[in-house]
């Protein structure tokens, strides 16, 4: 009997080629587990059984014929519900998109399927990816599989929880200000934030376009490298998808780390950091040193300004992106209004939750006449300073290691009444988001209460191979 909670891409492939299982049986056993266990986690919003089983039978036919298998043959994946997939709803965790079935596939999702993956269904998230706890979903919160009374993190909470709970081998999430890395840390799985522009965003329901990225959740670093290799690259449907050459991330991730220079920024180890997390991260740094890395103290002096900068830029872009939800082209419409403007306003009132309204208001305020220079332009200037911090640090080091979160997963309901406290939980994630650099969130231990702890490995722009390589060394030291 296969252990669905620990199954990796390599193991799934081996089981398929040896005839131990079939792609169909693998998909069915995941669906059975979801049916039995997801009631208490709430990770899936919809299942794509027809599409998944059709793909699985194609893969089984390849196996039977002895044909060469694509890299992700038969691997069951879950997809965050902000990404489009023909045949499935795309709610973005919002009531305003209830009933919407997008007529096209997200490029990243289509690439995974073309590489043989079996797409099981769509995963819960904070509404329009706005949140750090998954409590802003219109379809109910996700529970952390490692402690059901705690949040899984957000916004890609369903994507992290589904991998941790054995409801898929890997999943896709999105990260605008930490939404892959923080839930990965809270649920004890690996999360990869690719460089901005590395993976096409065609088919991603936009939140903040200068920050949004798509990336994988996996059970090990090598699987994350495999999925990135499949998804990375330019796309005629997304002018922001970079033409920078795609590397062999798996090969790079498996190289030894001896001789690499690792930066440890003092600003990430200050007040507010949980002592157990500090100890676990320091242990990982010691492990890297033992593996032959040179550890260097560095400074990223503008770090404390990252959260205020992020909450101006992200909300300003969101207020613009979310203006498309107006009851005309998709999803919900309030039919009681007699005028067009009334219809827009009442639809948006009925369709958006409190956090989305809060961010639209903040962003609209920051962009409005008289405040643009004081807020939006100021934040863009500080964004330059934050990015310069990283560029000068990376002149001296190959990767930067920091804690992933200041605390382990907090309790459901603990921060919902205080938006500022919730925003401060993003303290270690948003600077890398603003700078556009890549990063990996890797499990590095547990608290004495058994809650997962994550460590963040940051790499410079388009240096995913290097970040994954250091992440692999951290993972190896856990074994």
């Amino acid at each position: 009997m296969m252990n669905l909670e620990t199954l990796s891409i390599d193991q799934a492939r081996a089981a398929l080629t040896s005839g131990e299982t079939t792609a169909t049986a693998l998909a069915e056993s995941h669906y059975a587990r979801i049916a039995q266990e997801d009631g208490k986690i709430n990770s899936y919003l919809s299942l794509a059984k027809d599409r998944a089983l059709a793909q699985a039978s194609k893969i089984d036919a390849l196996v039977k014929a002895g044909d060469p298998l694509p890299p992700l043959a038969g691997v069951p994946l879950g997809i965050k519900d902000v990404l489009t997939m023909v045949g499935s709803p795309a709610t973005a965790g919002s009531k305003i998109l209830e009933g919407y079935h997008p007529p096209y596939d997200c490029t990243a999702v289509a690439k995974l399927e073309a590489a043989g993956a079996v797409l099981l269904g769509k995963l819960n998230c904070d509404e329009f990816a706005m949140g750090s706890s998954n409590e802003n979903s219109a379809y109910g919160p996700v529970h952390n599989p490692r402690a059901l009374d705690r949040v899984p993190g957000g916004s890609s909470g369903g994507s992290a929880a589904a991998v941790a709970a054995g409801f898929c081998v890997a999943s896709l999430g999105t990260d605008t200000g930490g939404s892959i890395r923080q839930p990965a840390a809270f649920c004890g799985v690996t999360g990869l934030l690719p460089t901005w522009g590395r993976v096409s965003r065609y088919g991603l329901i936009a939140f903040a376009s200068s920050l949004d990225r798509i990336g994988p959740f996996t059970r090990n670093v090598k699987d994350a490298a495999t999925l990135l290799g499949v998804m990375a690259g330019s796309d005629i449907m997304d002018a922001t998808a970079s033409h920078t050459p795609v590397n062999d991330y798996v090969a790079e991730s498996q190289k030894p780390v001896a001789g690499l220079k690792i930066g440890v920024p003092e600003e990430y180890f200050g007040e507010g950091l949980d002592p157990e997390i500090r100890a676990a991260v320091e242990k990982s740094i010691a492990d890297l040193k033992a593996a032959g890395c040179e550890i260097k103290k560095i400074s990223l002096p503008h770090t404390r300004y990252a959260i205020p900068t992020y909450y101006v830029i992200a909300t300003a872009e969101a207020s613009s992106n979310l203006s498309r939800f107006d009851g005309v082209r998709f999803g919900l419409r309030d039919k009681s209004a007699a005028t067009l403007t009334g219809m827009y306003r009442q639809t948006r009132d009925a369709g958006f939750g409190a956090e989305v309204k809060r961010r639209i208001l903040l962003g609209t305020y920051a962009l409005s006449a008289g405040y643009y220079d004081a807020y939006y332009k100021k934040a863009q200037q500080v964004r330059t300073l934050l990015t310069r911090d990283f560029l000068s640090a990376f002149a001296d080091v190959d990767a930067i290691v920091t804690p992933m979160t200041p605390t382990p997963a907090f309790k459901l309901g603990e921060k919902t009444d205080d938006p500022v406290a919730m925003y401060l939980a993003d303290v270690y994630t948003v600077a890398a988001s603003l700078a556009g650099i890549c990063g990996v969130s890797v499990p590095c231990g547990n608290t004495k209460d058994g809650l997962p702890i994550g460590v963040q490995i940051l790499g410079k722009h388009f240096a995913e191979g290097m970040a994954l390589r250091v992440a692999q060394a951290v993972e190896n030291a856990q074994k």
Partner: protein, 106 residues
């Protein structure tokens, strides 16, 4: 340093954003916006005179890597998503148009 956001400002911004807020929501949003803007005021500690604003990651990378957001595709006609499939998702449509409440009075 920021002025306090008043209830009237919240209502005006909601109007700009095409959001309908109930009275209790206006009060809640006023409290939250002031708390968040109070935190954002920290940015004024920094002297940013002469620092260029950064709108896109690619701007700051210059020639270091092939920049994103500058990738233009060949300008050729390609098929787009079928109109029927798009209109099927609209709350109200006839076979060619999205339908909305009347905007022009006779």
């Amino acid at each position: 340093m920021s002025e306090t956001v008043t209830l009237d400002v919240v209502r005006r911004v909601a109007e700009l954003a095409l959001l309908e807020l109930k009275d209790d929501e206006v009060a809640r949003m006023q409290k939250d916006l002031n708390a968040i803007l109070g935190h954002i005021d920290q940015l004024n500690e920094l002297d940013t005179a002469g620092v260029p604003p950064m709108a896109q990651v690619s701007e700051i990378l210059g020639g270091q890597v092939e920049a994103s957001a500058e990738a233009l595709r060949e300008d050729v006609v390609r098929p787009s998503i079928d109109r029927t499939a798009v209109l099927r998702e609209a709350p109200e449509a006839d076979h060619r148009f999205f339908k909305v409440p009347k905007v022009i009075e006779r």
